[in-house]
Amino acid sequence: MNMLFRYAGQALVYLIFAAFLGYFASAPVYNHFPADKALIKLSLAHGAAREGGCRRRTQEELQKLAPNMRRPMDCPRQRLPVVIEFEIDGVTLYSASEPPTGLSGDGPSRIYQRFTVSAGKHDIVARLRDSDRTEGFDFEKKATIELKAQQSLAIDFRQEMGGFLLRW
């Protein structure tokens, strides 16, 4: 009888552990995004213009450099920040000046933002400045989009492809 209880007890422990494993392996369900909303991701990695232009080194300056370092042009490594604005239905959701990455500030500026918006039709405007101009923007994209619930829209930027890209 004792053996019977012992085996029954062991079976019960295995059953409880199996239920624990089986349940928490995929439950409870985690609702991490509202089912009636859509998502817009604004993401880019873009290097702005160099801070200040190149200048030609004088003969005296070149003589002071080691022979293998005597490049005639002196170009700064530091890049300008990328200024970006994002509007939806006339409301500015994001406006920032992103500094360049890298220890010498010569890497691209990185932006990755998520916006949860209601499903439906929206007017969006994305603007970007990557030069030393003080006003206005170098690139702008206006579009009217229609988002379904749980749809994800990515706004990317590729200068070689003409600027902003909408990726569905």
């Binding site: 494993l21 392996a25 995929s26 369900v29 609702n31 991490h32 089912a35 990185r110 994800s152």
Partner: protein, 498 residues
Amino acid sequence: MYHLGALGFFYFWVVAVSGIYVYIFFDTGISEAYDSVEYMTHDQWYLAGVMRSLHRYASDGMVAMMMLHMVREFSLDRHRGSRWFTWFTGVPILWLVVICGITGYWLVWDSLAQYVATATTEWLDWLPIFGESVARNFLSPELLDDRFFTLMVFLHIAVPLILLLVLWIHLQRVSKPEIFPARGLAVGSFGMLLALSLAWPALSQGPADLGKVPAAIGLDWFYLIAYPVVEIWGAGPAWALAFGGSTFICILPWLPRLQHKSIAQVDLANCNGCTRCQVDCPFAAITMNPRSDGRPFEREAVVDPELCTGCGLCAGACPTSTPFRRASALVPGIDLVDQPLRDLRQQIQDATDNLSGERRVLMLGCAHGMRFGHPAIDGVAAVQLPCVGALPPSFIDYVLSRNLADGVLLAGCNGGECYSRFGIRWTEERLAGERDPHLRSRVPRDRIGQLWTGARSAKQLGKELRAFQARLPERPAKTEKSKAQPEASPETPAEETV
């Protein structure tokens, strides 16, 4: 509970074998990955599908065992002293196991994988270590490359191999580690996993679509519990929690201890370098060095205080640890500084002085397993030891031959899970005459009881004690109790002096 670490190993091997089988059918491609897993789950459900489920549930079981193992070792204060290395190397194991799980879920490329990929890369991007944003790879389907899956497969194979290496390192300071559970436990655990896999097979959660946001996710809470934290707290605080928590766990062995640690000390005048203490030390805290005092012995025992846990097994193993002394004081070749054997002998004499009745019992138990204190039972006295293995067998002979008690009940941690690892095993072997120092054959075995049941209630303990008392045979002829005269006895056995 003693087999948690060994069970973790067992689950690891189930994961490894099932993973190798699943890998045979797995395709590394954006659409091929999901399709191949679906083929396994539905078309070949009877083998590949079961293997997939075993892979998942054994992985989850491994996490459960790992966490329980860690909490248990901490709660039993088994992370300090010489155990620091094992504790410390357990922390990278936590990270590696989680990385294995994340890369594994990623490979299925269903909506859960999409969530895991996006959330992981967004979390990683917070760290200023990537030149390009990793999360940008998952902006839209056209940006994702098949090669990314090749990389993930590589990681999902490489990281477990690194995990295996770290597991090996984890056990380097543990002599005779138990990495396989008892056969019955292994069979039962595998049967449980198999039954679970058949009854509740692991399923995918619909193909990934980067143009959509998966709203409701069936998370594996064993591996992915950090993700809701990242979303609620943000990436920075979540990293702070992960790194801060890991660092805190790492330094736990060096935080102030709540109890004073007693360590072993060698008395060279009584040490002949017999090596018994070195062989019996569960933490390799004793080494045998060349003799330094000019006496005609080859070696001498040297204790490393950093590795010594103060269990006293060495004192229990020392052949000079005999309470029968003619003229000299009880100073064995090796002994605990704060709990010397001469104190134990005195405690035994004090405790048994007032014992009366027909069936007097002296209970000798370890401090960890039996928190018995003073059982309020007539004819029962109790003396506590650091570990039951710290009791030299000659002390049992001493108690019974001097008629200090009619029976000796040895009480210790629950069978097999000795706090000092080998205290119970060494005691049983010494009593059975299989390990030095032996219990002399003249000692009546029917007057010795063993109670390896761990901490239990006073009521249960009382029941066990009464049962032991009832089992004790009558003394053939009553002899007067020998009062405390440890230094002079005609019974002093010559072989117990060195």
